[in-house]
């Protein structure tokens, strides 16, 4: 018995046993559905000599599962359309259905590169709701581990930046730095990546000997290694020329778009949550807020160099924390089952990517009524459409890498 093939079906040229659906020209139809908005209709209309290039979600340099549909004319990017949601887990809803302790582990994998900051913001918000005074030693431990992780995150950024521009070696050097820190944190928390260490009212455990010896070992040569990593790359003519003048974000644009973190400091605005809205024990610590690109807006190179400056400041903070660490408990006394007062709380921390904030509404039960996340990567991704236009395909990598987005946080 033979089955009649539908007219839209044809046999694969590769293997005649395989039936394919649709016409051969189906590849030309992007997207395969009629446009839903005016913007989509405009974007998906090709001009003369233009074509679409679908970058991602599986692409070596989109930092995860970001998909960008580029409309290109030759090598030039005419227009682009980022498509999000490939890593969407519904973290906010998950958190609303978990109790307050559980949220810490739910929110951990948001920005898997620097997950302690993801724990820090909700923990601070819950402490506001519960009116808990966190012990000073716990605050110092939080700052210490956080700044260590900031160095690790920026080290990864430096390596990825070079890798996206075609340099093979720097990422392996910066991974050494990152690995030493991550191993130390693993000795403290038991995990290498998703630490699950902060608790409402303190931290999960006191500093142990292995952590301290590893950190001390690393601190003894941290600045030297940092300088060595800088020397590996920063005076490379090709590297500098690839990044100078690319992806300029001026002061006004940065403020208007809600950019935070290193990206706004590279645009000449000295905004740092640690100084502007002080939290934890940062007011007691000495550190500078490095600013670059004061005249004419920050380009990719400014954003890159600013993160290197921040590493130096973080090492200063770690040094102070280690020297001024007070004695005492690391956890406040709290009931096992937390039922905070009804109310709302906002807490923000300066994550390596910028202002990471959580907004919690409590209705007096053991689960938050509403839980909202402000993620800096998501805000910075809005810049991509503006920065990549009229650049070359190769520049999209320089711009994207210099904004340092993490897809976990963007897709939530």
């Amino acid at each position: 018995m033979t089955t009649q093939a539908e007219p839209s079906q044809h046999r694969s040229e590769d293997d005649p046993r395989i039936m394919l659906h649709g016409q051969m020209g189906q590849y030309e139809q992007v997207p395969p559905y009629p446009p839903r908005t005016e913007r989509e209709a405009e974007f998906y209309t090709l001009g003369d000599g233009e074509m679409f290039l679908n970058m991602g979600p599986q692409h070596p340099s989109t930092h995860g599962v970001l998909r960008v549909v580029l409309k290109i004319s030759g090598e030039k990017v005419v227009d682009l359309d980022p498509v999000l949601g490939y890593l969407h887990r519904g973290v906010e809803k998950l958190c609303e259905n978990s109790d307050y302790h559980h949220i810490i582990s739910q929110i951990d994998p948001l920005e898997y590169v620097s997950s302690l900051f993801m724990e820090w913001a909700p923990v601070m918000a819950f402490e506001q709701l519960m009116d808990v005074q966190v012990p000073r030693r716990a605050e110092y431990i939080r700052v210490l581990t956080g700044e260590l992780l900031r160095v690790a995150s920026h080290a990864l950024f430096q390596g990825w930046m070079a890798l996206d521009l075609g340099g093979l070696t720097p990422i392996l050097y910066s991974f050494i730095e990152r690995d030493e820190i991550v191993e130390a944190l693993a000795a403290l928390t038991g995990q290498r990546m998703l630490f699950n260490y902060f608790r409402v009212g303190g931290v999960n455990g006191d500093l142990n000997h292995e952590f301290l010896s590893r950190v001390g070992d690393w601190m003894s040569r941290a600045l030297v290694e940092h300088e060595a990593n800088i020397g590996l790359l920063n005076e490379n003519e090709i590297f500098v020329r690839r990044m100078r003048g690319i992806g300029r974000v001026d002061r006004d644009t940065a403020l208007r778009m809600g950019v935070t973190g290193p990206n706004i400091r590279a645009a000449g605005v000295p905004f740092d949550v640690r100084r502007s809205h002080p939290y934890s024990v940062y007011p007691e610590l000495e550190f500078n807020v490095p600013v670059r690109g004061a005249n004419g807006g920050g380009d990719s190179l400014d954003r890159y160099l600013l993160r290197l400056d921040e590493v130096r400041e973080s090492i200063r903070i770690i040094d102070q924390c280690l020297h001024e660490m007070p004695d005492g408990p690391v956890m406040a006394r709290l009931p096992r089952l937390m039922r905070p007062r009804p109310g709302r709380a906002w807490a923000a921390v300066e994550s390596p990517r910028g202002l990471f904030g959580t907004y919690v509404i409590s209705d007096g039960t053991d689960q938050p009524f509403r839980f909202r996340i402000h993620d800096p990567s998501f805000v910075h991704l809005q810049l991509v459409g503006m920065l990549m236009k009229d650049n070359l395909i190769a520049d999209t990598m320089a711009v994207m890498a210099s904004l340092d987005p993490v897809m976990g946080g963007i897709d939530k």
Binding site: S12, E13, D14, L20, M24, Y27, M51, F52, L53, N54, H59, P60, S61, E75, A162, L163, D164, L165, G166, G167, L168, T169, L172, Y173, I176, N236, I238, F239, R241, R242, L392, I393, A394, D395, T396, M397
Partner: protein, 456 residues
């Protein structure tokens, strides 16, 4: 157990009849070959010596290109690994020496996939074209004095003509893949290779004026003597331009835009798999070797040693060395020596190994001694060949110098980021081309000046 009892094993049942057949057929065949076929073959060979030489040269070049690519691939894996503070391949053979060979075999066993919508014929044959153009360039590269596939007197012209053809293969591969990344990679390679062909060619014109010939063999001969006789000291700018343009021609970092993995995935090779990918992959490394070989041939003394050995020997008071040993003179003592010397030498060489490692079995020491003896003999033979035949010496120096440049290529890959396409084109047209023209004019002017002054 109803296994039939057979007196002969499987091997016996196959080999013994074969032996019997060979005993009968062998002599007949020998007589037939010697009387009927032999003279005919000799006649054909004698009358077609040129063609035969050409075919042999092609076979040699094809056979040489594969191990050369394997060595370079292994070198790249290992050198970049050490520069990255990694270990690199370390599984197959000691230090992973056969890693690239095994990877090559793996490529052979993979599915040869053609994407739907691709132009099948072009898609299939363009890697072959790319590989062939790379290998064809080998034909005029002199590996030693007289050791050249085709001693053309317009070798340089042939070189640039054939080398420029590789862009056609890359473009076809990019176009026929039915993939936008491939298309971009193919177009990039077309733009890049065509642009850099011009400074590459112009940088050598000054050298051609100096040497007065287009024959690569002759250019090599003119650099005999000391280090300062190499053309790099008379054409430093030309050598620099040739090197940079050569890196771009071979599509290597920092000019590897055609296969920029962070931008266009793998460029023209995106849709290729199996041996078709293998051809593209090998072609890249063959190109690296060819570029190194050309730089060495034209600017770094070709096969010549950096020191004038004969001059040195005369300084010491020794004439040009050659080995005049006639084994026939030794007679029966040669037989005795052949029987006794290896045994004695094995025992002598095994003795220190045995004394140092007494806890090991004695046969291991003996094996080590035997291997050492073999190495020693090979070394002596090699040394004799080096001193006696100038092509062996030339081959050694040529390979040594070529692989120094291959190392530089690999080193650059580990060190540099990638340039952007506009920077790449700007560099070729705004810097390299004027510099090459300047080099040409200065050289020409200097030659005219020297000739009119009546020197030489």
């Amino acid at each position: 157990m109803n296994r039939s009892a057979s007196p002969a094993s499987l091997i016996g049942r196959v080999v013994i009849p074969l032996l019997l057949i060979a005993l009968v057929v062998g002599p007949v065949a020998v007589v037939f070959l010697a009387t009927v076929i032999g003279p005919w073959v000799v006649g054909v060979v004698n009358s077609n010596l040129g063609i035969l030489r050409f075919v042999l040269a092609i076979a040699g070049v094809l056979l040489f290109s594969i191990p050369a690519a394997f060595i370079i691939i292994y070198m790249e894996l290992k050198v970049i690994a050490y520069m990255n503070l990694r270990v690199g391949p370390n599984r197959v053979l000691p230090a992973g020496a056969a890693h690239s060979v095994v990877a090559g075999l793996k490529v052979l066993t993979k599915e040869d996939f053609t994407p739907n919508g691709a132009d099948r014929i072009v898609f299939t044959w363009s890697p072959v074209l790319v590989f062939l153009t790379a290998v064809m360039t080998f034909m005029v590269v002199p590996f030693g004095p007289g050791l050249v596939g085709a001693p053309l007197n317009i070798g340089l012209l042939y070189l640039f003509a054939v080398g420029g053809m590789s862009v056609v293969g890359l473009l076809l591969a990019g176009w026929s893949s039915f993939n936008k990344y491939s298309l971009l990679g193919g177009l990039r390679s077309a733009a890049q290779v065509v642009s850099y062909e011009i400074p590459l060619t112009l940088s050598v014109v000054g050298l051609i004026l100096l040497a007065g010939t287009l024959s690569i063999d002759s250019i090599g001969r003119q650099q005999a003597g000391w280090v300062w006789d190499w053309f790099v000291f008379r054409q430093p700018l030309g050598a620099l331009i040739f090197f940079i343009a050569g890196v771009a021609e071979a599509n290597r970092t920092p000019f590897d835009l055609t296969e920029a993995d962070s931008e266009i995935v793998a460029g023209f090779a995106t849709e290729y798999s199996g041996m078709r990918f293998g051809f593209l992959f090998f072609a890249e490394y063959v190109n690296v070797f060819i570029m190194s070989a050309l730089i060495v041939t034209m600017f770094f003394g070709a096969w010549n040693a950096p020191v004038d050995v004969n001059w040195l020997l005369r300084l010491v008071g020794v004439g040009p060395l050659s080995i005049n040993l006639d084994p026939g003179q030794l007679g029966s003592s040669l037989m005795a020596a052949a029987a006794v010397v290896p045994l004695l030498a094995t025992l002598i060489l095994a003795a220190p190994v045995y004394l140092l490692r007494r806890h090991r079995p004695a046969w291991q020491a003996l094996l080590a001694g035997f291997l050492l003896l073999n190495l020693l003999v090979l070394g002596v033979i090699g040394l004799a060949a080096y001193m006696d035949w100038d092509w062996v010496a030339g081959l050694v120096w040529f390979m040594l110098k070529s692989f120094v440049f291959v190392f530089v290529f690999v080193w650059m890959r580990a060190t540099f980021p990638r340039v952007r396409i506009d920077q790449l084109m700007g560099f070729a047209w705004k810097w390299l081309l004027p510099a090459a023209l300047l080099n040409l004019f200065v050289t020409a002017f200097a030659i005219v000046l020297i000739k009119s002054a009546g020197i030489n």
